[in-house]
């Protein structure tokens, strides 16, 4: 059974269809990269996985739990799915340490000491232990995103969702974030990553999903995708992003 499974998911904003019959899955330990032009529905799709975006048709099952079921305890489900956002979304009024412990203490019920020990271990892992008492605004974009990854990991997630984690970063900071993600992938974390970083996809992705106009146009292995892309739309897209 896959860790994340989407079956015929559709979503409309009024009469505008953002997601059109999307079906795909992410197995345990698998890394799936989602790409596609702006406005194609990538963010909407990945946010549907942890119930941040409701959808009208189809089914999403994460670790055996149906996300769309009104009876599902969404906070409980989300507590074990890490999410990393394009704009980091660290809590600016809290120190880095508090950012790392808030969820552990309030949601998982860990003690402050336990949460801090865990948080500091992860902060060290992303190379930012010395910043623990600072506030998010005092860190560079790349540092903030690494803290955001550590924050997600502090909840012991069974899977990680990334929505364009490097697209708000200055070019010289992209790699420090990608390095952390590559390491995670190599350790066997289940990951669904919206990104245009094809270098990352080549390095660690198992599969690539290509979206356009709310549809999943391609869903194939990395080698198939970079080898002989079948759809013309994906071909055009790839040639565009590989040229800048």
């Amino acid at each position: 059974m896959p860790m994340i499974e989407l079956r015929n998911v559709s979503k409309w904003y009024g009469s505008f269809q953002v997601l059109d019959d999307c079906t795909t899955s992410v197995g345990k330990g698998e890394v799936v990269v989602v790409c596609g032009p702006s406005g194609s529905g990538k963010s909407t799709l990945i946010k549907a996985v942890n119930g941040l975006e409701p959808f009208q048709k189809g089914e999403i099952v994460v670790n055996g739990v149906s996300v769309g079921d009104p009876k599902t305890d969404l906070p409980k489900l989300r507590a074990h799915i890490g999410m990393v956002f394009q704009n980091f979304e660290l809590f600016p009024h809290m120190s880095i340490t508090r950012n790392l412990t808030l969820g552990q203490v309030k949601v998982l019920g860990r003690s402050q000491e336990e949460a801090e020990a865990k948080g500091m271990k992860l902060l060290d892992r992303v190379g930012l232990l010395s910043q623990k008492d600072k506030f998010p605004g005092q860190l560079s974009g790349g540092q903030q995103q690494r803290v955001a990854i550590a924050r997600a990991l502090s909840m012991d997630p069974i899977a990680m969702l990334f929505d364009e984690p490097t697209s708000a970063l200055d070019p010289e900071m992209i790699n420090e974030v990608l390095d952390v993600m590559v390491e995670l992938a190599r350790e066997g974390m289940t990951m669904m990553v919206v990104t245009h970083e094809m270098g990352f996809a080549r390095k660690v992705a198992h599969r690539v999903v290509f979206m356009d106009h709310g549809q999943i146009v391609e869903d194939c292995t990395k080698d198939e995708f970079f080898g002989s892309v079948r759809s013309e739309r994906a071909q055009t897209f790839l040639s565009k992003i590989l040229h800048h």
Binding site: R78, G82, F85, E89, L90, G103, V107, R151, A152, M155
Partner: protein, 227 residues
């Protein structure tokens, strides 16, 4: 030929001071109650459940579209009626001060709820989304993530509204509660020195509110610099 006799102020200092204490008490209770219930109203208005948000919006819009003085009259006369309905006590059991407090809290909570709502909406949507993604529920996300940031943004506007509220406490004069203005008025009637006393009231209000506005400006500058 006008001849002022400022001695009356000294002569009536005790009743004026009592009046000021009443005004300050009303102000403090109305401010605390207004912010507390205003925050609840704002949360109710923004809650994802229509059963909660629609009545809250109705209440706020009703209060905001009638003159403050009318609302005071209303709650002033309504509160004793409602209290006697529920407790079986006589309406007179509720004094003018309590009625005025209820009226002020009702009205101020409607005003403050709009300030809090604007403050909440000024926080980027990614913030609650990140809180939810960690597994926090609606109330935790509001309490730990959204409201603390919103209050910081709202502080200057809230203090400005507090200054207005302090001035508005003089409206209780219409329900014969002896606040600062009421005390001055009474002294004026007794001595015929109403002009001196009203000038005194105006000067005191001016000084207090001027100092407060000045403090708000400084706070605003400090918050802006701290960004």
């Amino acid at each position: 030929m006008l001849e002022f006799d400022w001695g009356v102020i000294w002569k009536y200092r005790e009743s004026l001071w009592d009046g000021m204490l009443t005004s300050l008490q009303l102000f403090a209770i109305a401010l605390a109650g207004g912010i507390f219930f205003g925050t609840l109203l704002a949360l109710a208005r923004l809650a994802p459940w229509k059963l909660v948000s629609v009545p809250a919006a109705g209440f706020v819009n009703l209060i905001r579209s009638i003159p403050f003085i009318m609302a005071i009259f209303w709650f002033y006369f309504l509160t004793p009626v409602i209290v006697s309905k529920f407790t079986g006590q006589q309406g007179e059991a509720v004094g003018p001060f309590t009625s005025a407090v209820v009226a002020f809290i009702m009205v101020e909570s409607a005003y403050y709820s709009e300030i809090v709502r604007a403050g909440i909406q000024s926080i980027p949507r990614g913030q609650p989304a990140a809180a939810y993604a960690l597994g926090l529920n609606y109330w935790q996300s509001m309490g730990h993530v959204v409201l603390p940031q919103a209050f910081r943004n709202m502080l200057p506007v809230m203090l400005t509204q507090a200054v207005i509220l302090f001035q508005d406490t003089s409206l209780v004069y219409v329900v014969a509660l002896k606040d600062f203005l009421g005390a001055a008025s009474k002294a004026g009637q007794l001595t015929g020195r109403i002009v001196e006393l009203y000038i005194f009231v105006a000067v005191v209000f001016f000084i207090l509110c001027f100092l407060a506005s000045h403090a708000v400006k400084r706070l605003q500058a400090r918050l802006a610099a701290g960004r």
